[in-house]
């Protein structure tokens, strides 16, 4: 497969990054390992919290977003990674058995002045099954120029 380059990501391009179904077992497993707060482990505790029910850890949603971003963009592009994320917003709780969908829109594309690379920033949007945005992140990568 031919890898994509900086020039393949003009501002406004939207990459469909596919879907990911997150089950209750996976939500609990991630939370036990990394975020063992009651609202990520227990239905009743979730209901009492401002999440209104059991919900995935926000870091779990970030990890899923990374997986989808890898499949949609990173593994298909000749790039040097990104080294961070400008911001992430957890907007809606992610419930067990939600089929998440992600799209990554190019919001900035700047060629390097001195090197054969360019900086591309994606707004990654994760949607739940009701087409509500559950999470948004601003994620840069450094792509090699064609």
């Amino acid at each position: 497969m031919e890898l994509q380059h900086f020039e393949d990501y003009p501002v406004g391009r939207i990459v469909d990054c596919g879907t990911y179904r997150v089950g209750k077992d996976e939500i609990l497993e991630f939370a036990r390992q990394f975020d063992p707060q009651p609202h990520h482990l227990d239905e009743e505790a979730g209901k009492k919290s401002i999440l209104g029910g059991l919900a995935a850890s926000g870091w779990h949603v970030c990890a899923i977003a990374m997986r989808l971003f890898a499949e949609g963009v990173v593994l298909k592009a000749d790039n040097k990674g990104g080294a961070g994320a400008r911001e992430g917003r957890w907007i809606k709780p992610v419930r067990p058995d939600t089929l998440l969908r992600m799209e990554a829109e190019v919001v900035e594309a700047k060629p390097s002045q001195s090197k054969p690379f360019g900086f591309v920033t994606f707004e990654c949007r994760i949607y739940n099954e009701h087409e509500q945005v559950a999470m948004v992140s601003m994620t840069p990568i450094i792509g090699r120029r064609a």
């Binding site: 990394f34 919290s49 850890s57 990374m66 080294a83 911001e87």
Partner: protein, 157 residues
């Protein structure tokens, strides 16, 4: 825990959260699920990559921060809020590769407190969070945000 209400949190208060060893097995297990780039999942391929060996996913280093934060809070650590729900983060930086076998030491420091007009029972706390290697060099940092309940009327601590 006692305390930990929004009113109890002081800007500038800093807390060491403890350390974590990133083993190669743990790095690979996380990355196979969530960040399947060659330098996170394949020791041989990683040697030929720009990093020259296996390194942890940046999201893995962030998830470990969360774990240490929860543990510290559960131990009733002073200077930590009783919050738990966050609207997000800013300025996540992976500054140096976290290689297999490395130990990161984490910390959190309160940098800002904001009232929320829409939710008078809560405040928003911003924190600067860091992970440093054995030489004290900064490998990971971000600005965290957390909703923290205000002290209910009649509560004294």
């Amino acid at each position: 825990m006692s305390g930990g209400w929004f009113e109890d949190i002081e800007i500038g208060s800093r807390r060491e959260l403890g350390a974590h060893i990133f083993t190669q097995d743990e790095i690979i297990a996380f990355a196979k699920k969530y960040d399947p780039q060659v330098f996170h999942i394949d020791p041989e391929g990683a040697k030929r990559s720009m990093f020259g060996g296996i390194i942890a996913s940046g999201w893995h280093t962030a998830a470990v921060w969360m774990r240490l934060m929860v543990d510290a809070r559960d131990k009733g650590a002073s200077a930590l809020s009783r919050g738990g729900v966050s609207p997000g983060f800013e300025d996540m930086r992976w500054l140096k590769p976290v290689r297999a076998g490395m130990t990161l030491s984490y910390s959190t420091e309160v940098i800002e407190k904001l009232d929320l007009k829409s939710r008078p029972e809560l405040g928003l706390i911003k924190s600067r969070n860091e992970g440093r290697d054995e030489n004290g060099e900064l490998c990971f940092s971000f600005i965290g945000k957390g909703f923290v309940p205000k002290r209910p009327k009649g509560e004294t601590a």
